[in-house]
């Protein structure tokens, strides 16, 4: 289920050269805002929760998930070099799970760690806000990575579709239409974070059972389907 060579290649593809810069950009921005807020405003639990919920979980995690999830496989399919990987005696489901593990790890490192640090900067983990949102980002990382890895195998416009989903569905519809919240990775993650910390500042629109079921279902189905897509992959030429 895990192939070290595939993992190494994927890490290199994700973090090599300038590509890591964009992954560092967002966490750096979060920390910058956290410092600015602390200096301007002082410690405030509600502000800390709003910022971590609004910027870290709603914007940063999906974006890093898009970059890591689609970046783990998309460029290889795009330029056709995936055939060299597929022609090796490695099971395609193994390739997918390995790439998923790498994408999850990268998303977690680049989103959960800065969230925790930002939480401590904002209010010194008052009312467990920092820990709660870190749990939420960890959970969300898994689901987002699986979803966007699937997108990477399905479409050549994976990044655009992923961004539209992350920005329009999660950020915009999620805050306007309450029905959309049931189908939002962000809310599932919040439900789990609420349970873990028993925190009044971290609330979710969906129940815990629904959230966990949907999280697991989305992750497993997306990974399975990505494996299926890779099994009968046809390389499209550049338009």
């Amino acid at each position: 289920m895990y192939d070290p060579t595939v993992a190494r290649l994927t890490y290199r593809a994700l973090l090599g050269r300038r590509r890591a810069a964009i992954l560092f950009l967002l966490p750096a921005l979060l920390l910058l805002i956290a410092v600015a807020v602390r200096v301007l405003n002082g410690a405030d639990d509600q502000v800390a929760a709003d910022l971590l919920g609004g910027f870290a979980l709603a914007t940063m995690v999906p974006l890093i998930g898009v970059i890591a999830g689609t970046g783990a496989i998309g460029p290889e399919i795009d330029d056709g070099s995936i055939v060299y990987l597929l022609s090796k005696p490695v099971k395609r489901t193994t390739i997918i799970t390995t790439k998923l593990i790498v994408a999850v790890a990268v998303t977690m490192v680049f989103s959960a760690v800065p969230t925790l640090i930002a939480g401590f900067i904002l209010n010194g983990n008052g009312q467990q806000v920092a820990v709660a949102y870190t749990v939420a980002t960890l959970v969300a990382s898994i689901a987002y990575s699986a979803l966007f890895l699937l997108l990477g195998t399905v479409s050549r416009h994976a990044v655009v579709i992923g961004l539209v989903y992350a920005l329009v569905w999660e950020a915009l519809f999620g805050s306007l239409i309450s029905g959309a919240k049931t189908l939002s990775v962000q809310q599932w993650a919040l439900a789990l974070a609420h349970k873990v910390t028993g925190n009044g500042l971290v609330t979710s629109e969906v129940g815990l059972t629904t959230a966990v079921t949907l999280l697991v279902a989305v992750t497993v189905v997306a990974t399975w389907f990505a494996g299926q897509k890779l099994r009968k992959l046809t390389l499209a030429g550049e338009e």
Binding site: T59, L63, L167
Partner: protein, 320 residues
């Protein structure tokens, strides 16, 4: 071979090889050789020159941004975004006509700001296809084998992207203007506001096109280019608005206007607030005065010039 070979040639080889005439020999005189003419002719028709090549590159890039001249699949996304961009304008016109309002309930200058995500996604999807693929497949040297210079390539791509964005952002304004005339609103007032809106989206188009192309030209991989463009446009806007909201909540209202200098969209908002009669859309209705407006203008122009400079530097040593 001719039979005019000198005697000395025959003498020197006659005893070794039967037919010396078949041997290519250094002593043979040049006038004996002849390149076989298979009928190639040089082109002597009109040469269309540098301006024509530049225009072609411009129109091809502009059409490419909407998927024209490309496969059917690549038309889907830009056309869909164009439709999404225009649909709210039609709805606004319909409601305004139906309710017999004396003005449209969304101002021309606010329209592109409201639909900034559509503009950002359009730019993020089309800027990389315009420049990244040329870089990745190393086709840039082929362009430069034509009579164009580096400056022509950069200007054509920059101009095409800005025009594509202008078409995207100005068409809904045009729909709204036509609608306002159908609804018999005050012609002079509407025309003035429409003009201000056009100037605003023109500035926005050029600024965004520059930023998008710089991001895309720095990353030959399409996916990373898309993410980089979105990060620069949307995330910086989100961060600036968050900070503005915080400084408004903490009564640091003086900082709001200056914070607006740190993201492309708030630059445009501030600029149109200062000079184009647009409503103040920063938190707390903070007005950008003419003095700060000049700073906004200087930074916008500086950014556009910087984008042009970076693109020129990028293509100095590309592809070869």
């Amino acid at each position: 071979m001719s039979s005019q070979t000198p005697d000395a040639n025959q003498i020197s080889h006659a005893n070794q090889i039967p037919d010396a005439n078949q041997i290519p020999d250094a002593t043979r005189t040049p006038d004996a050789t002849r390149i076989h003419n298979i009928g190639y002719r040089s082109y002597d028709g009109p040469r269309l020159g540098r301006a024509y090549a530049r225009r072609s590159l411009f129109s091809q890039s502009l059409r490419g941004a909407y998927g024209l001249g490309r496969s059917a699949k690549s038309k889907v996304l830009p056309m869909l975004l164009f439709a999404v961009m225009c649909a709210p304008a039609l709805i606004i016109v319909a409601i305004s006509v139906y309710t017999k309002a004396d003005k449209l309930f969304v101002e021309y200058t606010q329209y592109a700001i409201l639909l900034q995500l559509v503009v950002a996604v359009f730019l993020a999807s089309q800027a990389p296809q315009s420049v990244s693929r040329d870089l990745r497949f190393r086709t840039v040297p082929l362009y430069f084998s034509r009579p164009i210079e580096r400056v022509d390539y950069v200007l054509a791509k920059f101009g095409a992207m800005a025009s594509a964005l202008f078409v995207l952002t100005a068409t809904p304004l045009f729909i709204m203007w036509i609608g306002s005339m159908l609804a018999k609103m005050d012609f002079a007032e509407q025309a003035k506001m429409f003009g201000q809106g056009l100037v605003s989206v023109a500035v926005l188009s050029v600024l965004f096109a520059g930023l998008g192309l710089v991001m895309a030209a720095l990353t030959p991989r399409r996916g990373f280019g898309v993410a980089a463009v979105i990060a620069v446009l949307v995330i910086s806007f989100g961060a600036v608005t968050t900070l503005q909201g915080i400084s408004y909540a903490t009564d640091n209202t003086g900082a709001i206007v200056w914070l607006g200098l740190f993201s492309p969209l708030t630059l445009v908002i501030g600029l149109q607030n200062a000079f184009l009669g647009a409503r103040a859309s920063f938190p707390g209705e903070m007005q950008v005065g003419a003095g700060v407006g000049v700073v906004y203008l200087a930074i916008v122009l500086g950014l556009i010039a910087a984008c042009y400079g970076i693109l020129m530097a990028r293509y100095r040593k590309v592809g070869l």
